[in-house]
Each structure stands twice: as structure tokens, then as C-alpha cells.
């Protein structure tokens, strides 16, 4: 199946930050776009949405150039922002009235069904909604025009666990339709442990890893062992080594290779996405 989103050698330079990323997302999948604050997630997403101007590289959405075909692409994208940018003086219904007319495929029946699912009162002003409710409203706006690609910039930050679960449940249901794709940027990686198909990990403006979640969780490992073992390792095998008085712990990309080298002298645990992010950002490589 063709890629719904292709980012190729995308560059954006600032005085103190350079972005240079490549990745792609196939239809029918959810990609978690993870990285610490300031890694370049929002910049990349804004470049995809043409809210920022790229210096070079290519962004194709539905196989179309994101600048030349901006309007056609935006008809088919649902965008969820990292905070409320809607007019807080307007009611939910008034805001919907404005937004809906821009979309050829707006589905009012679908909109009303999401209002019910999320228990959102359309007569309430946006400023009267809680942060969770504002995020739900933003999600409803993104979903009610049958968007094929849903791009979400840190949608779960600041939400309580219940709302986050509801949101993730909805996203899983959307992906029942194999024609759609979701790019979800977050630094709360636990949200992705269950639902992401692909993970793209960005740090300091560079892609550290872009692969399937299963590949990451099956091949990476958190190893623990005695300090003297650090002398026998292959160069570059251990990532983010943390030493303490009892020994060391580190991340390995290839746990089979680690087992081959160290045998039973080490303990290897299955990592979470947070472990993978944490060790790669914070520690030294041995």
C-alpha cells in the first residue's frame, strides 16, 4: 500500500536549532512521533501543515506535494493542536458552524455522534470547557470530515488518564479503516506502548530511529550487569550506560548480540518506549 505521508530529507534551520528528518507512514497505521521537548516534533508537524516554510527537502501527503497541493491535502487532513487555538468566546456549535463550511466532506451526523460519545454540550462556550473537553472538541473537528490522515501534536499532554484512554480508544477505532493513517506526536510514550504500529524517534532535530514498535520492543533490551563486563563489550553495543555501586545498566539495540557476548552474566529486560527514549537521550555509549 502507498505511503500516506512521506518526509524526505526535510531541512529547517534556525539560529540555534537545525532540523533534518526523513520518515514515512503507510496507510492503515498509527505512527508515534516521539522525542523530548524541543526535539523538533512540533516543527516537523508545522512543516507538514505548511505553517512553517521548509528550507529544503520534500513532504508528500497522499503522494502530493504539501505546498503545491496545500488546499486539496488539507481537505483530507484532520489536525489536532497541542492546545486550544479556537475562539474561546464562541460556543462549540458556533465554532463548528465556521469550521465545517471549509470542508467538502463534513459529516454533521458524524459530528453529532462524536458529541454524544464525548459528552460535549454544543451550547457551551469553548472557554467554559475543561482542557480535556477542549482537546475532545479539537479531535471532533479533526474527525468529522472523514479525514484520511490525522495529525496530532501532543494531544495527550495535560489530559487525565481517563480522557487519554478514551482518546486512544477512538484512535484505535479510526484505524479499523485501513485507508487512514495517524501521526501522533507525544513525549508521553506510555500512550503509544499499546496502540502505535510505528515509532519515529527524534532528538535534537535528527531521526534516531524509525521502525515498527514490535521491532523496537523485540530487539531492544535493558541490560544489567557487573561493571567489569563493560570491558568486554563490542564498541557501540551499550547505549546510555548508567553506572552505580552495584554495576551498570544500559540499553542495547540487539539483545541477541548482548546475550551472545555476555551469556548469563547479564539480565535483559524488555524495554518500554520510555526506556528506549531515556537511555538514548541521556547516557553515554560504550
Amino acid at each position: 500500500m502507498s505511503a500516506i505521508l512521506e518526509v524526505d530529507n526535510l531541512r529547517k534551520e534556525y539560529r540555534d536549532f537545525n532540523l533534518n528528518v526523513s520518515f514515512s507512514l503507510e496507510r492503515g497505521y498509527l505512527m508515534g512521533f516521539i522525542g523530548p521537548n524541543g526535539a523538533g516534533k512540533s516543527t516537523t508537524i508545522k512543516l507538514i501543515m505548511n505553517l512553517l516554510k521548509k528550507d529544503s527537502g520534500a513532504i508528500k501527503v497522499f503522494g502530493l506535494d504539501n505546498v503545491k497541493n496545500e488546499i486539496e491535502i488539507k481537505q483530507r487532513i484532520g489536525f489536532v493542536y497541542d492546545q486550544n487555538y479556537y475562539y474561546d468566546e464562541l460556543t462549540v456549535e458556533e465554532m463548528k458552524g465556521i469550521i465545517s463550511r471549509f470542508y467538502a466532506d463534513w459529516d454533521d451526523e458524524l459530528y453529532r455522534s462524536y458529541l454524544k460519545i464525548f459528552d460535549l454540550d454544543p451550547r457551551k462556550k469553548i472557554k467554559e470547557l475543561s482542557k480535556g473537553m477542549q482537546m475532545k472538541f479539537s479531535l471532533i473537528m479533526a474527525l468529522s470530515h472523514h479525514a484520511e490522515l490525522i495529525i496530532m501534536d501532543e494531544p495527550t499532554s495535560g489530559l487525565d488518564p481517563i480522557v487519554r484512554r478514551e482518546l486512544l480508544q477512538i484512535l484505535s477505532e479510526i484505524l479499523q479503516n485501513e485507508n487512514k493513517g495517524i501521526l501522533l506526536s507525544t513525549h508521553i510514550t506510555s500512550d503509544l506502548d499499546k496502540i502505535a504500529d510505528y515509532i519515529t524517534f527524534i532528538n535534537q532535530g535528527r531521526i534516531v530511529e524509525t521502525t515498527t514498535r514490535d521491532f523496537l520492543l523485540e530487539n531492544y533490551g535493558v541490560v544489567r550487569g557487573k561493571k567489569e563486563l563493560l570491558m568486554q563489550t563490542d564498541k557501540g553495543l551499550l547505549i546510555g550506560v548508567k553506572e552505580n555501586e552495584f554495576g551498570f545498566e544500559a540499553l542495547v539495540k540487539d539483545k541477541a548480540r548482548a546475550r551472545e557476548i555476555f551469556g548469563d552474566k547479564i539480565i535483559i529486560d524488555k524495554p518500554t518506549l520510555e526506556d528506549i527514549m531515556y537511555y538514548q537521550i541521556d547516557g553515554k555509549v560504550v
Partner: protein, 215 residues
């Protein structure tokens, strides 16, 4: 594009009525002896409403939402230009109703009705202000564009005072005659065409700037 205009009207619905009414009553009561109050109704009020709309947009950072929608930059810009002329229509309508009622009841402070020459002066005045301000806004955004706003506000405060002084020193030259004398039919048409040309150039400049803006 109509949605963008409706959005601005919706956002300001209460203020639009209160402010327009307040400034028009103020203009009729305070300025009628010295200057043409409908110039305030036609130029100052729409400009204030535009500033209020932009400030509200800035407060919500809603340009991100607008620019994420499937709408061309040209339409976003054009909506801004058209909106100010809708404010103008509302304000002039409000002013005309007020003066009509005051005249109907023979109130001592009845306002000066808007003349054809007055409409030309208003169109030229607001057209030039918008033509200067909006490209600055689309290039630099609301906050940086405040410099122009400050200059305009100071000018709006000083110019009527200067005009009042001139008229006070030359009682044979009431304000209304200044405008009526300035705008004959031919001059009026030339001024209108020139203003339309300036507005067109300004619009294209605004689109060019806005396409380069980052959010």
C-alpha cells in the same frame, strides 16, 4: 471566505453593537459643532473594530487554526479587507439612524447627515489607512503592527484637535465646507479610483507577505 467574515462578526457581535453605538453617539455629541462627526463614524469606528478583531485573534493565536484549514491565503487576506468595509457600513448605518431619530424629534444636538462627498472622503480615508496597515499586519503580525496602530491613534487624536483649532480661528470656514469644497464630482471619481488602485496594490502586497509568514 464568507465564513471568515461571519467569524469576525460573530466574535465581536456584542462589541460591534455597543462600540459602534457608543462612538457614534460620542461623535455626534462632542464633535458636531467643530467637525464632521460622520468622519469618525466612517473612519475611526471601523478601524477600531478591525483592531479589536485582530487583538482577539492574537489572544487566541487562532491564525494557526485558520491556516490549517483548506482555504487559500488570498481568501484570508481578502476577507480582512472586506470585513472593514462591512464595519464601515454598519457604523454609517448606525450613524444615519441616530441622526434621523435626532432630527425626527428635533433634538438640539441633531447630527449632520452623511453627504455624497462625505462618503467619498470616508472611503478614501479608510481605504488609505487599511492599505497601509494591513500589509504591515500580514507581514509582521498584530504585535509588531502595533507601532502603526499607535501612530494612527496619536494622529486620530491630534488631527481633529488641529482641525478644530483651524476652524475656531477661521469661523467663516466650517468643517463641512472643507469636505464639500474638496470633493467635486470629477475629483470624487478620481479619488475613488485612486483609492481602489491603492487598495489593489495593498491587497497584493498583503497576499505576498502572508504567503511568506510562519505560524
Amino acid at each position: 471566505m464568507a465564513q471568515l467574515i461571519i467569524k469576525d462578526m460573530l466574535l465581536q457581535r456584542k462589541r460591534l453593537i455597543y462600540f459602534t453605538l457608543f462612538y457614534n453617539v460620542f461623535a455626534i455629541l462632542i464633535l458636531q459643532d467643530f467637525f464632521l462627526p460622520y468622519l469618525v463614524a466612517g473612519i475611526v469606528v471601523p478601524y477600531i473594530m478591525l483592531q479589536t478583531a485582530l487583538a482577539y485573534e492574537e489572544m487566541n493565536k487562532s491564525e494557526i487554526v485558520i491556516n490549517s484549514l483548506p482555504v487559500r491565503k488570498e481568501k484570508i487576506v481578502l476577507a480582512r479587507y472586506l470585513t472593514i468595509f462591512i464595519y464601515l457600513l454598519i457604523s454609517i448605518l448606525c450613524y444615519s439612524i441616530l441622526t434621523f431619530l435626532m432630527n425626527l424629534f428635533n433634538l438640539p444636538l441633531a447630527g449632520e447627515p452623511v453627504s455624497l462627498a462625505g462618503i467619498v472622503v470616508i472611503f478614501v480615508g479608510i481605504g488609505i489607512i487599511v492599505s497601509i496597515y494591513l500589509p504591515i499586519f500580514f507581514r509582521y503580525g498584530y504585535i509588531k503592527g502595533r507601532v502603526f496602530h499607535t501612530v494612527f491613534t496619536v494622529a486620530a487624536l491630534i488631527l481633529p484637535t488641529v482641525a478644530v483649532k483651524i476652524i475656531g480661528e477661521n469661523p467663516e470656514l466650517p468643517g463641512r465646507f472643507v469636505v464639500e469644497d474638496l470633493v467635486g464630482v470629477r475629483t470624487g471619481i478620481i479619488l475613488l479610483l485612486l483609492t481602489l488602485l491603492i487598495l489593489t496594490i495593498s491587497f497584493n502586497l498583503s497576499v505576498w507577505f502572508y504567503k511568506k509568514r510562519e505560524f
